[in-house]
């Protein structure tokens, strides 16, 4: 047997095979997470499609005010996507504080979204909507699917705000780099992207 040839003391690029995607592992990990999370959302949206198709008299309760609220929420989220991009842009130009500011704005917008969302929820709960209850007398599954889908999304928003906060703090201290800003941005765009399906499918399809 021959002694294996050994490469010592050279950096990663020289001793590793090139990744087929040529992106940092963390980013690939984030993409894979997004892929699997997309399947999770898909499964729950398909469950919604299933029960809705299987129900003859589906409820369509949303007033214009809810839709307007939804449009505002969508706008907030879309703008927050752009602010993440701004943060990344600043980070790439090594403007740490500017980047952190933009991340802060993103967080604020995220929290605004969550607040608007929770306000909407509270209004509905006041009207008698529950996971298991339909005050209009229609199929109870409306409430179940609505709260589950939007709740899952809301959880992603909250998790995203926390994640951005962590990244922003650590990034401002210099213990994280641009790559982290980019990864958390990817996640945030994904949450935004999911909303682009949730809004039409859950709100618009149920507008009065």
């Amino acid at each position: 047997m021959n002694e294996p040839e050994v490469a010592v003391g050279i950096d990663h690029e020289t001793w590793n095979e090139e990744s087929p995607y040529r992106i940092p592992s963390r980013k690939l990990g984030m993409w894979l997470f997004i892929l699997s999370d997309a399947v999770t959302f898909a499964a729950i949206l398909y469950a919604y499609a299933f029960v809705r198709l299987a129900t003859a008299n589906w409820t369509r309760p949303f007033e214009v005010s809810s839709i307007v609220n939804g449009v505002v929420m969508t706008t907030v989220l879309l703008v927050s996507s752009v602010t993440t991009l701004a943060a990344l842009d600043a980070a790439k130009h090594n403007q740490r504080s500017r980047s952190v500011t933009w991340l802060g704005v993103t967080m604020l917008l995220g929290m605004l979204f969550a607040a608007l969302h929770i306000r909407e929820w509270i209004k509905m709960i006041d009207k008698g909507w529950r996971l298991f209850q339909n005050p209009t007398g229609g199929p109870v599954l409306f409430g179940s699917t609505f709260f589950c889908i939007t709740g899952l999304h809301l959880m992603h928003i909250i998790a995203g705000v926390v994640a951005i906060a962590v990244v922003a703090i650590k990034y401002s201290r210099g213990s994280l780099d641009t790559g982290h800003v980019e990864s958390v941005g990817l996640y945030w765009h994904f949450v935004d992207l999911v909303w682009m399906f949730v809004f039409p499918l859950v709100y618009l399809m149920n507008a009065k």
Partner: protein, 104 residues
């Protein structure tokens, strides 16, 4: 650490423009919603528009366009395949509707 080739990604102006485009699409969606279309037509329109929005977001906001094409070729077909396969449960939903009895 920057590997997305700063020069190639869209500048902030373009991003804002895209954001505006996306908002317009949302506007179209809302507009369609109140056009009294049949549920199926509305659904079809909304889905197409939503996929269009998603495509924009993935390509430009998430910079998939600027990554190695391998990445897009691995992720997108996989996701579409899974979404497509999941659709196989829907014929059953129709059957459930048809065979459903009010009482047990």
């Amino acid at each position: 650490m920057d590997n997305t080739g700063t020069s190639r990604v869209l500048g902030m102006k373009a991003n804002l423009l895209l954001c505006f485009v996306l908002l317009c699409i949302v506007g179209i969606e809302v507009f369609l919603t109140y056009r009294h279309l049949s549920t199926e037509t509305l659904l079809a329109f909304l889905l197409v528009l939503a996929f269009f929005e998603a495509a924009i977001a993935v390509t430009y906001f998430m910079h998939l366009k600027y990554e190695s094409p391998n990445l897009a070729w691995s992720l997108i077909p996989a996701l579409i395949f899974v979404l497509f396969m999941m659709g196989n449960m829907l014929p059953d939903a129709m059957r459930v509707l048809n065979l459903r009895v009010i009482h047990w």
